[in-house]
Structure formats: structure tokens, C-alpha cells
């Protein structure tokens, strides 16, 4: 990372400046995968999920100027959730006249099953949100660590192997594996905090 990532507030503020292409790119990089995965979790077909991302991003582009940044916890997250959900139900309705295969029916059924339970859907969203933060942050900081350190982190935290096994494989002490893993996780946490102050 050659430059400091913008904080969440300033990223949102920069988004309002329509000429700020970089802010938009960064925003898209962080949040598109989230919307895509959320849509997939709602059983949308891949192509529909892809469309949904465009729809939501278009909505965001249109209405970001109206969004008043408030550092109160989770506000942006739930705002984006509402935009995504609204857009998704709109897309769903548009498609319902001509169901296109299993995915659609499944997703309709899924949405119907969670329709009464907004909490369930929002929980799903929150989960995907956390996950996307991790994914994004991990990708951002990957190059800051040596291969062995990263491997220690990856094998223990991601692949959930026992630290002794990992230590043997990498030729490190168990303590070093823990230290390496903690360092990476710490850095991920810092990275996330740069864009999401609630963590």
C-alpha cells in the first residue's frame, strides 16, 4: 500500500464528488463483492446477482449525495442494506413473470421465507458484510507480510489447522506461529477500522 486508505467517512464524502473516480473505484471494490455474495446467498443466479450489483451501485451513485454521513454505529451498513434489499425485491418482481430456471424459483421461495423475518435477512447481510471486510482487508495487506508469516496465519486461522501441525510444517515454534497469526490479524483489524469505524 503506497498511500493510506481513506477512512470510511472521507470515502463517503469523496463519493459525493462525482469527479473523484478513485473514490468510486475503491467503493466499488469494497462493496460490490458484498452485494454479489449477498444476492447469491439469497439464491439469485449468478447473472442476476451481477445485475443486482449494477442496480445497487447505480442507486448508490444516485443517492449518495443525499446520504448524510453519521458516524453512529452501523448506519452506513444498514443504509446500504436497505438499498440492496429494495433493489433486490424490485428485480425479483420484474423477473417473476417469466421465471428463468431453478435459481429464480428458489430465490423467490427463499425471499418469501425470510420476508416475514427481516432480522434473518439483515443478519445474513451483516454476516456477509463482516466477511467482505475480512476479504478486502486481507487482500489489501497480503503484501506487507513475508511468506512464512502469512502461511502461519493462513494455515491456522483460515484453514483452521492445529498450531503444532503448522509449526512443524513451517519449521517454526508454536509460539512463533501464534505471534505470526496475531500480527496478521492485528493488521487486518487495523485495515478494517480504516473503512469501518464500528470495528
Amino acid at each position: 500500500m503506497s498511500e493510506a486508505a481513506p477512512t470510511r467517512a472521507s470515502l463517503l464524502l469523496r463519493l459525493r464528488d462525482q469527479a473523484d473516480a478513485e473514490a468510486w473505484s475503491q467503493f466499488v471494490e469494497i462493496y460490490s463483492p458484498l452485494i454479489f455474495r449477498f444476492a447469491r446467498r439469497c439464491h439469485l443466479q449468478e447473472s442476476d446477482a451481477a445485475d443486482l450489483v449494477q442496480e445497487v451501485m447505480f442507486e448508490v451513485a444516485k443517492s449518495i449525495a443525499k446520504f448524510d454521513y453519521d458516524p453512529k454505529l452501523g448506519r452506513f451498513r444498514s443504509w446500504l442494506y436497505r438499498v440492496a434489499k429494495r433493489t433486490m425485491s424490485r428485480v425479483q418482481r420484474k423477473q417473476s413473470p417469466e421465471p428463468r430456471g431453478v435459481g429464480d424459483t428458489e430465490s423467490l421461495r427463499f425471499l418469501a421465507s425470510v420476508a416475514d423475518d427481516n432480522n434473518a435477512l439483515e443478519e445474513l447481510w451483516d454476516q456477509e458484510y463482516q466477511r467482505q471486510l475480512i476479504h478486502w482487508a486481507a487482500a489489501q495487506i497480503r503484501n506487507q507480510f513475508q511468506e512464512a508469516t502469512w502461511q502461519a496465519f493462513w494455515l491456522t486461522a483460515v484453514e483452521e489447522q492445529a498450531s503444532q501441525v503448522v509449526a512443524d510444517r513451517l519449521g517454526l515454534s508454536v509460539g512463533s506461529v501464534y505471534v505470526a497469526k496475531s500480527r496478521v490479524m492485528k493488521r487486518i483489524s487495523e485495515k478494517i477500522r480504516e473503512i469501518d469505524e464500528s470495528h
Binding site: A50, R90, R93, Q127, R131, A157, S182, R183, I188, S189
Partner: protein
């Protein structure tokens, strides 16, 4: 830290992670962590919040993640280009501003701000200096104005629109064709467009959908009668007044004036195409007023589903859908809308104009009556609608009431040719299902096993019903107005009775269910002696007055139901036809002054029902009680936003645990005979005036554990000949903006006998002072202003009454189920309380005996 078996302190732990700990210390610490599970956990906890840490394993899935995602991201990034181009368009529109300002100033308008812009032009909020009023100014876009033919059309249509005066059509104040650009000056509406409402994502209730639909239909009817077709009905052209909730149609005829400009909007921002009627796609010459009805249908659909059913990703796809594809029936998209409404909307959406409703007035009536007008056999019962059912229904009955109702039916029949036949057919079928279930219940009552499985009994009795020998005698006793045999003869086979089609169920005094009706009027007419009516479902719309003749009618909410009646009068549509029938009927023509929503000549008891009048163009009471009638309300909510009161009674009334609110009137108007006592217990009364006492005869009012939030709680309107009215009040709260008691200017005596105990008087301006020094128990109240009373805090008006009560800390209060004040008070109230302190006193009570009748 010295030894490897010693746990790390927090500081060392942090330093170890960050790399600040070095050398032998770091080695020792690392070695310790390798052996100490506790420190391992501490270390992990110090780095990443738990909810994030649990997501770490998902990083592994990233490898298998869809390759599509990269394209998705790339595509989303390119959206920015579109954003840029749209901002360029906005910037171009902005450039009109300086250009026009001068013109407006010359013409006497002060621009305040831009409130909207589109392909057609720019809309400004402005102040008209001469009248000091806010107006909206619409300026035709230069691209359109430069086309002189379009400019001419714009002006012509605007002038036609200006000639239509209707509460649901935006008033056009002025039209200017002065260079450089033609513009028109319209009424300024504080509020949002329906489009904005939909975009906000907040759902529109079904009641509101009906209300908006009816007002749109009323506005369209007025326009169509003036030969004006809107041609561009869509949510963006429907304004909702934030203060009154009134629906206003704007931009009449402008779509035609500006030609095809709406098709030039770019990219995904296709709005209008999703709302145009298919025939307009083939050429605007084919469009007529029925195209507006189609638009109305799409708007109704969109209010339920969130968007037009034809909306597609691209303009072309949208147009293709409009032209060729039938949207799914509304009730499949929204399972909670009643079938009749779904049918109504789908009929409006018919591609063939001839198959739609033919006039806006029909739609207005159909929405009001909430009947199944689709003509489709949704319950499988309408196989052969009789060709002249109306006359059969109408030629029976003898009382003035029936004639009154009959006349209304007939005028309606003339107005909606072809629709009413189906309506009445539906009514007949329901009537028959009523008769049949009546038979079923008589079986149960007469049979040995009254507790038999009801469902089975119901269905089997329906099947056997046609053969029952005693049905006529039983039915006759229940059907006062129309012989049941005729109805049976006309009806087709029976289907299940659905609650949403017939929410008004009649019960006999022994608790057996006799059957159900589609509207309250029929249920009231057919309620057996000693029985009652149960109402299921949530929303019911009443458009014509209901009469309780000289019988005892008991209405209550079905279990778990919270029925709400919305009153939306169709009187305005009836009028022209009423004249036609004047000569034929011997009774006095329907004098609207006589009719309330519920007219009680006999006796009415209601429990758990809510009735709302949300329109402000209705000036009559919700419930009217005639001198020989009685009214008993329990746990009811009556709310009137209109200048009409909630209850106007010439007899004594009894209200228990009710909430009564009237924004622009007295909540309760009493004009009873001498000595009649009205009683309110545990009631919440709010509005302009709480209780109005009028008439020349002495009345008595008992208040017990009530709360009033009014300008004046009690207002006396007439000098009462037999002595001043008497009020006995105990443990009640009077929260007044003006005074507890007030007298109309015409009232000379200014006397009221007031007794009671434990009351709390709160409010901003005045309280009563006894100046008479006692005159045989009579007090002469005058109103004295208290300038300040600093010992009490100030309250904002919209405060939960309960917290007011807590503030007064009066344990004698047990007001039940008091709602939020803000729920009951319409719109922003004047801000009296923020500038005036509260004063409270309960020292003024005289504790006397209850005044005798």
C-alpha cells in the same frame, strides 16, 4: 517478565504482536505463548473482533469464487461514467436559471429554489409577491420551447387544465407565453410525489392505497368531463400534500404538449414508459381518457408492489413488456391484497381499452365499495349473473329507509352501467351463502350435537341446504327487505364464503353463526333480534351512509380482528343522479345534512371498532343519534380529520374506554332532551372541542376517569331553558389550550354547574375561577388568564399523555389504553405550549353530590 512460565501482561502482549518487543524478551514471550493456552487465547482476542474472526475461514472460499465477480466490479466502476454524464445534463438544466430570473421578477415572482427538473423543463418554488403566497413555476425546457408547435400545445393544454377546478387537481394560477420561455404558475404543494414516497422504501398501507386511488379517480373524472386527458399518469405526477394528505394530480396534458421527449431520457432512468398505456405506443391519437385509467391501474399496482410491473432494465424491454406481456395478477405478487382489489387493478391494466373500466367515476365507485367488480368467477359462484338483478333487489321493502337506500342503488346502477349488474350478482351470491349457512346453523341448534365439528357441519350443511324444507320461514324472519326465494332462484352454485369478501358475520343470540355479508349495511339490516355482528378483516371502506332503524344492533370486532372503517363518501358523484329521481320518490330528498356515516334511529352498541374520516371535505358526523335512539360505545376509536364531529347525539350516549378525536370540530356534540344524562368513562377525548352542549334543554354529563386534550374540553352553545347544564367530573384530566369550559358568544347565562373531585386541570392559558360565591350549588365561571406559573415545567404538545400523568403524579388515574397524543393529533399543532407555561390546579374542585337528572 523473567520466566517463560509466567503469563504475559497486557502491555507485553500488545508489544509482542506489534513487534515492539524485541530480543530475548520477545523470544521468552514467544516461547511462553507456545506453551500457554490462556495467552494464546488472549492474543487472538486482542487482535480481531470475534464476529470478524469467525469469518476468517471463509477466506479459503475466495479461491473458488466466481470469475464473474471481477467483471461485476469492473462494470460497476464504469457506472461512474454515467454519473458524470447525468451531472452534465443537470448542469445544462441549471444554466436556465440566471436566464429566467429577470422574467419572473418582472412578473412579480421571487424565485426561492429549484424543486425539480426533467426532460420537459425546470420547476421552481417561488413567492408571488402581490398575494404573498408560495407558487410552483414550471418553465418549458428550451429544447421543447424552440419547437413552436410544442410550445403552442403546452400553452393550450395548460389553459385547458387551468379551467378544471377540482380538489384533486393542481390549480394553475397563471400561464405565460412571454419570451424567452413559456411558463406556468401552479399551486405550490408542500409534500412529496408518490414517486418519492415509493423510492423512500416506506410501504404504503392498503387503506392509503385505496384513498390515493379514489382521489386520483375523482380528479381524473373531473378532468375527463372537461375533455382533458392527462396522458402521463405516473407516480411522479401525483403529489401528496404533507399536511392534509390530499392527493393532487399535476402536469395535465403536458406529455402530449411535449411530444415524445419522454422517450429520449437515457440509460436506466426510464420512468414514464413503464406507465404508458399500450395503445399510446402505437400512436398518441389512439390514446383517450381510458389510457389514463390504465395509468391509474399501473399506479395502484406500483403502490402495492413497489414499482410498475412493466419496468425493465432497458427502455426497449420496458416497452416490449407494456405492449405484449401481461403482468402477474396483483394478488399473486402481494398475497395480502383482497381479490376484489386485485381484479379491479388487473381490469384497469387490460391491453384492450374496451375491456377496462370505461370512466374514472366507475373506478372511484368501485374502489369505494370494495366489491368484486372483475366479473371473473373467483369464487366460482357467479356463473350466470342475472341481467336485471337490480330491480329485484330494489322492488322490495317498505320503510323510508329502504326507499332511501333503494334510490341510491338505482342512481348507482344508472351511473355504472354494466358494473352494478355484477356487483349485485355478487351481493346475491353472498346473500345466498348467508341463507344456506343459516340453514346449517339451524341444524346445529336443533340437532343433538351442537358441539359437532363446526367446519364439517358448515360444509356439509352447505351441500344439503337446497333440500331443506324450512329454509323459507327461517330466511324470511331474517330477511326483512327482500324475499329469499327470489335470491335463491337467481343464484348459481355456492362457493366457500371468504372473509375478505364477506367480513360482516351475523350471529344469533345463542351464538350460532348465521352467515356473512359483503357490506355493513346488509349485515345491519339482517342482524337477528338479540344477535350481533362480528367484523373480521382489517380495513373496510364505507361510501354510503348506514342506517340503524328502530332495532337493536350490536357490532363488535371478531376475535383477533382490529377492524378499521375508512369513510370515503361518494355523495359528490351521486348528486346529478339524485335529481333525476326526485319526482318519483315521495320522501324528502337525501339531505346530506341529515346523514352521517352511521345513523342511529334505534339502538347501536359497538365494541372494538375503529372509524376514521380522513378526508377534509366531509362536514358531517361519523355517528348521528336521533332523539329516541341510544348509543353505547366500548373500546372504540373514532377519529375525524374533517370539519365533522365524531358523535352528534340528540339522545344520551354511553362511552367506555373509547378514544374520540376530531381535528376541526367538537369530538362529541350533545343535544339531548331535558334530564338526559350522557356518560363517559375511561375515555380519551381530543380535538378542537371535547364535548359540545347545545340545544335549549338541560343536559347532564358524567365524566369519570377521562382525559381531555382540547382547545376547550366543554363548550356550551345555547342557553338552556331549564337551567344550566350540569357536569359531574371525577378523577379526570383536562389538558386545554384555551380553557376547561367555554361559552359561545350567543350564550347569555354563561353558567354551568360543575361538581366533582380529584380532577387535574392542565394547560397553557386559563383555568376556571369561581366568582359567584356559591349560588345554590351553581357556579358562575369566568375565564381568567394566568400569565405565568413558573412552578411547572413546559411540555411540548406532542407528548405521550402517560408521561403528563406521571408528571402530575396523580395515583387516582387509571386511564386505560391511552395512545400517543401524537397519534391522535393530525399534523403539526400550533406551538402554544412551547411558549406558555403549564398551570395546574386541583384546588378548584367543589365536591358536591352528583347532580340529579
Amino acid at each position: 517478565m523473567n520466566r517463560t512460565d509466567e503469563c504475559l501482561d497486557d502491555c507485553d502482549l500488545t508489544d509482542l504482536i506489534s513487534g515492539a518487543l524485541t530480543g530475548p524478551d520477545a523470544e521468552r514471550a514467544t516461547a511462553h505463548v507456545g506453551a500457554c493456552p490462556r495467552c494464546q487465547r488472549r492474543m487472538e482476542n486482542a487482535t480481531l473482533a470475534n464476529q470478524l474472526a469467525t469469518q476468517l475461514p471463509s477466506l479459503n472460499e475466495a479461491k473458488t469464487e466466481s470469475v464473474v465477480l471481477d467483471d461485476v466490479i469492473a462494470e460497476a466502476k464504469s457506472l461512474r461514467v454515467q454519473r458524470e454524464s447525468s451531472s452534465v445534463a443537470a448542469a445544462q438544466a441549471e444554466t436556465i436559471t440566471p436566464f429566467n430570473t429577470e422574467v419572473f421578477t418582472e412578473d412579480g415572482y421571487e424565485l426561492i429554489e429549484t424543486i425539480g427538473q426533467g426532460g420537459m423543463g425546470v420547476v421552481y418554488k417561488a413567492r408571488e409577491r402581490s398575494l404573498d403566497r408560495l407558487v410552483a413555476i414550471k418553465v418549458l425546457a428550451p429544447t421543447v420551447a424552440n419547437d413552436s408547435a410544442a410550445g403552442q400545445r403546452f400553452l393550450r393544454e395548460a389553459r385547458t387544465a387551468a379551467s378544471v377546478v377540482h380538489p384533486n387537481i393542481i390549480t394553475i394560477h397563471a400561464v405565460s407565453d412571454k419570451p424567452p420561455l413559456p411558463y406556468l404558475v401552479m399551486e405550490y404543494v408542500e409534500g412529496v410525489s408518490l414517486q418519492q414516497q415509493l423510492d423512500s422504501g416506506s410501504p404504503i398501507s392498503f387503506a392509503n392505497t385505496i384513498r390515493i386511488g379514489r382521489q386520483m379517480a375523482a380528479g381524473l373524472d373531473a378532468a375527463h368531463q372537461n375533455g382533458l386527458v392527462h396522458r402521463d399518469i405516473k407516480p411522479a405526477n401525483i403529489l401528496l400534500n404533507a399536511r392534509t394528505g390530499k392527493v393532487l394530480l399535476s402536469d395535465f396534458g403536458l406529455a402530449l404538449a411535449t411530444g415524445s421527449s419522454r422517450y429520449t431520457s437515457s440509460g436506466t432512468l426510464v420512468g414514464t414508459a413503464a406507465y404508458v398505456a399500450p395503445e399510446t405506443l402505437e400512436g398518441s391519437s389512439l390514446a383517450d381518457h381510458r389510457s389514463d385509467l390504465y395509468g391509474l391501474g399501473v399506479v395502484l399496482y406500483a403502490m402495492c408492489s413497489g414499482d410498475s410491473p412493466f419496468q425493465a432494465d432497458t427502455l426497449l424491454a420496458t416497452i416490449r413488456r407494456v405492449a405484449a406481456s401481461d403482468p402477474p395478477p396483483l394478488m399473486e405478487v402481494r398475497h395480502d391484497v383482497p381479490p376484489w382489489f386485485s381484479h379491479l387493478v388487473m381490469r384497469l391494466l387490460d391491453k384492450e381499452p374496451d375491456a377496462r373500466f370505461q370512466t374514472a367515476a366507475e373506478v372511484h365507485v368501485a374502489l369505494g365499495q370494495g366489491q368484486d367488480v372483475s366479473g371473473s368467477a373467483s369464487t366460482g359462484t357467479r356463473s350466470d349473473p342475472p341481467s336485471t338483478p337490480a330491480s329485484i333487489k330494489l322492488d322490495t321493502g317498505a320503510s323510508a329507509l329502504n326507499r332511501r337506500r333503494r334510490k341510491r342503488d338505482r342512481s348507482t346502477a344508472h351511473m355504472v352501467i354494466g358494473v352494478v349488474g355484477l356487483l349485485v350478482a355478487a351481493g346475491l351470491v353472498l346473500g345466498v351463502s348467508f341463507l344456506v349457512s343459516t340453514n346449517g346453523s339451524s341444524d346445529r341448534v336443533a340437532g343433538t350435537n351442537a358441539n359437532a365439528d363446526q367446519a364439517e357441519s358448515d360444509s356439509s350443511s352447505r351441500e344439503r341446504s337446497a333440500a331443506k324444507p324450512d329454509r323459507d320461514s327461517l330466511a324470511k324472519s331474517l330477511y326483512k327487505a327482500s324475499p329469499p326465494t327470489e335470491k335463491l332462484a337467481l343464484a348459481g352454485p355456492l362457493g366457500p364464503t371468504r372473509d375478505d369478501l364477506a367480513p360482516f358475520a351475523c350471529f344469533a343470540s345463542d351464538g350460532s353463526r348465521l352467515g356473512s355479508f359483503a357490506d355493513l349495511e346488509d349485515a345491519v339490516e339482517n342482524q337477528p333480534e338479540g344477535g350481533w355482528i362480528e367484523i373480521s378483516g382489517h380495513l373496510h371502506v364505507i361510501s354510503t351512509p348506514v342506517f340503524v332503524e328502530d332495532s337493536y344492533v350490536s357490532i363488535r370486532a371478531a376475535q383477533d380482528a382490529k377492524p378499521v372503517f375508512v369513510f370515503d363518501p361518494v355523495a359528490d358523484l351521486d348528486d346529478p343522479f339524485d335529481e333525476e329521481f326526485d319526482d318519483e320518490d315521495d320522501f324528502d330528498d337525501d339531505d346530506p345534512d341529515d346523514e352521517a356515516m352511521l345513523n342511529v334511529v334505534g339502538h347501536l352498541a359497538m365494541r372494538g371498532i375503529e372509524i376514521r374520516v380522513d378526508t377534509d371535505d366531509w362536514e358531517l358526523p361519523i355517528i348521528r343519534v336521533e332523539p329516541d335512539g341510544t348509543l353505547e360505545l366500548t373500546k372504540c376509536v373514532l377519529s375525524s380529520m374533517s370539519p365533522g364531529c365524531c358523535v352528534a347525539s340528540q339522545a344520551g350516549v354511553t362511552l367506555n374506554e373509547c378514544q374520540i378525536h376530531a381535528s376541526a370540530s367538537a369530538a362529541i356534540e350533545l343535544e339531548a332532551a331535558d334530564g338526559v344524562t350522557s356518560v363517559l368513562r375511561d375515555c380519551w377525548v381530543s380535538g378542537l372541542i371535547g364535548i359540545e352542549l347545545s340545544g335549549e334543554e338541560r343536559q347532564t354529563l358524567l365524566l369519570d376517569h377521562c382525559a381531555f386534550a382540547c382547545e376547550q374540553s366543554i363548550r356550551v352553545y345555547d342557553d338552556q331553558e331549564d337551567g344550566p347544564p350540569a357536569v359531574r367530573s371525577d378523577a379526570s384530566l383536562f389538558f386545554n389550550f384555551e380553557s376547561v369550559v367555554g361559552f359561545d358568544d350567543e350564550v347569555e347565562s354563561r353558567e354551568l354547574r360543575w361538581t366533582g373531585s380529584g380532577n387535574v386541570y392542565a394547560g397553557s392559558v386559563t383555568r376556571m375561577v369561581d366568582e359567584s360565591g356559591g349560588d345554590g350549588g351553581f357556579a358562575r365561571w369566568t375565564v381568567r388568564t394566568r400569565e405565568s406559573d413558573a412552578q411547572y415545567a413546559r411540555y411540548p404538545f406532542q407528548e405521550d399523555l402517560n408521561s403528563v400523568l406521571r408528571r402530575f403524579d396523580n395515583p387516582s388515574f387509571r386511564l386505560s389504553e391511552v395512545g400517543l397524543l401524537s397519534d391522535l393529533v393530525a399534523g403539526p399543532r400550533r406551538d402554544v405550549l412551547s411558549s406558555e407555561p403549564l398551570s395546574v390546579s386541583n384546588r378548584n374542585d367543589q365536591v358536591d353530590d352528583v347532580p340529579g337528572p
